[in-house]
């Protein structure tokens, strides 16, 4: 096995273990920590594929900003260990079915795939920061601006909701 392959299996294993532990953990903080492990492992996979910029942004945005907010809210609300009601236990049965179905679907897709769909390290234009910014600000500038407008509306909505009593 070559070194990149070993690194891939370590990172992929970490991501899967983190994802499983995210669901199985009893305490919300432990679940949030597992999600951070998944995010960082994914960033490592991007780095392995040569996408340095995407890897760094993955950690800054998802691992840093978003998950810090998750942890912050969980800490602020002082959320305790989750309680199992009879309904949430019943939800396990269809969940197990869905897991089997999804796993079968993914396995079938991988089995059918040829060389061409396998991910390979990206180089040149598409991996570089210049390439990404050209795509964002030239080729897809209108969708990009629309998205930022949507986020702005969401931020304003949050401010209005928070300020309702004072208005």
């Amino acid at each position: 096995m070559t070194a990149p392959l070993v690194v891939f299996f370590v990172l992929a294993g970490l991501a899967v273990i983190g994802a499983v532990s995210l669901i199985l953990q009893e305490h919300p903080i432990h679940s949030a920590l597992s999600l951070i492990v998944v995010m960082v492992a994914l960033a490592g996979l991007y780095l392995l594929l040569g996408a340095e910029f995407v890897a760094a942004v993955q950690i800054i945005v998802y691992g840093g900003a978003i998950m810090v907010l998750f942890v912050f809210v969980i800490m602020l609300l002082n959320a305790g260990v989750e309680e199992h009601t009879s309904l949430s236990k019943m939800a396990g049965a269809p969940g197990l079915l869905l897991v089997v179905a999804l796993g079968g679907f993914v396995a079938a897709t991988i089995a059918k795939s040829t060389e061409s769909v396998q991910a390979a390290p990206q180089t040149g234009e598409i991996a570089s920061t210049t390439g990404i910014s050209n795509m964002l600000f030239k080729d897809f500038v209108y969708p990009f601006e629309l998205t930022s407008f949507l986020i702005l509306v969401a931020v304003l909505g949050a401010v209005v909701l928070a300020q309702r009593e004072k208005l």
Binding site: I36, E52, A56, G64, L76
Partner: protein, 410 residues
């Protein structure tokens, strides 16, 4: 055996570099505590540590031994896993960020290998982004320590710290965008080289002049990110006992301590690299006689240490201090005698001097400024720093656009 050595030469070099850098950073950390206590003491008209060793120079050693031998109780009701994870996370992330800093322009040629000063190869393209990624994760050490300690004061400290870091990270990231746009790269080495395109301008070609607004925002936000005074609300001792590390004792507390000082060093490195020309000399490149500047600093300093040492009150000091002074002055003489060595140390010398100045400013601010109130902290970050840094980005892009359209510069 020999073939095994040559086959894995890069790996061995990297491991040796990591061990060396770790040793240097931890030693510097230890003496930074001594430096801070001395400077703050003198600001407050006190002497500071002066009992353990000459001028208190062995105090960090005594502190280290004390940290190791203190009782290390684990409070009841803590979340064990997270409680042990938090200091590890804080220390590991702080030390990792140092690995991304380049410390000198030229490689040393040893055993047929070019060895760069710095662990990550200088052609890594995400330098500054990688640093921000590590800083972004750094908040977990403090936040999780506060949460897992099962203590209301710790929880408040952890909450404050996460809120503070979320707020100031925005301003910190935005404030360097101006520098990144003028340099056109994320690579720290290229950012420094971009500040040297007018070699005859010396200090005037550094980023600090066009980006002075960006520097102000960056430095203030970075101090807040490292939880240092006047932004040390997460550990405000008058309100929260000791904040997030109230329940940590012995070496687990020392790990938080080392993490804080290491991030101070990282921020000082970043300030010098992004805004103050990194390893560039402040003098014009044609003034080659300024290459003797390091010796001009080291020799008088060494002589002063000898002069101070021979009249020191204890016998130990009368032996140690002149010895250290001779070593320092000897280093200065060595640089004069060997032009090759002298040429090589120019870059690291200027970078380390700048880092030292920023570390002094850190300590100076701690000795001078009172702590912010929580609402002041929030309104300062969101209502002043963030708009200013955005203004800086917009202004810089207009200047670059004007240069491109009217002067045809690239």
């Amino acid at each position: 055996m020999n073939s095994l050595l040559t086959a894995n030469a890069d790996l061995i070099i990297t491991v040796v570099k990591i061990v060396l850098l770790l040793f240097i950073v931890l030693t510097v950390n230890a003496y930074l505590t001594w430096f801070e206590r001395k400077v703050v003491a003198h600001i407050q008209s006190r002497w500071g540590p002066h009992r353990v060793g000459p001028h208190g120079l062995l105090q960090p050693l005594a502190d280290g031994v004390k940290f190791l031998f203190k009782e290390d109780p684990t409070p009841a009701g803590v979340d064990k896993f997270v409680y042990y994870l938090a200091p590890l996370l804080a220390l590991a992330l702080a030390l990792t960020s140092i690995a991304l800093i380049p410390f000198g322009p030229d490689p040393i040629r040893l055993f047929g290998h070019d060895i760069y000063l710095g662990i990550v190869p200088p052609d890594v393209n995400i330098g500054i982004l990688g640093l921000f990624a590590i800083t972004a994760l750094g908040v977990y050490g403090v936040a999780l320590a506060g949460w897992s300690s099962n203590n209301k004061y710790s929880l408040l400290g952890g909450l404050r710290s996460s809120a503070q870091m979320i707020s100031y990270e925005l301003a910190m990231t935005m404030s360097v965008v101006g520098v990144l746009m003028t340099a056109g790269t994320f690579n720290l080495k290229k950012i420094i080289e971009a500040q040297a395109h007018h070699p005859e301008w010396g200090i005037l070609s550094w980023n600090i002049w066009p980006q002075i607004l960006g520097f102000f925002c960056f430095f203030v936000a970075a101090i807040a990110e490292t939880n240092r005074a006047p932004f040390d609300l997460p550990e405000a001792e008058s309100e929260l006992v000791a904040g997030f590390h109230t329940e940590y004792a012995s070496f687990k507390f020392a790990m938080f301590f080392i993490a804080e000082y290491t991030s101070m060093i990282t921020v000082s490195c970043l300030c010098s690299i992004l805004f103050f020309g990194g390893w560039l000399s402040p003098f014009p490149a044609s003034w080659t006689f300024t290459h003797y500047f390091p010796s001009l600093v080291l020799i008088p300093f060494g002589l002063w240490v000898i002069w101070d040492g021979v009249r020191y009150e204890t016998l130990f000091g009368r032996i140690i201090l002149p010895g250290a002074g001779t070593a320092i002055a000897g280093l200065g003489v060595l640089f004069v005698l060997f032009p090759n060595v002298n040429h090589f140390i120019q870059g690291p010398f200027w970078l380390l001097s700048k880092i030292f100045v920023f570390l002094f400013v850190y300590v100076w601010m701690r000795g001078t400024l009172p702590r912010f109130r929580y609402d002041q902290l929030m309104s300062f970050g969101w209502k002043l720093l963030l708009p200013l840094s955005i203004l800086n980005v917009v202004g810089t892009s207009f200047v670059i656009l004007a240069k491109m359209t009217w002067w045809g510069a690239k």
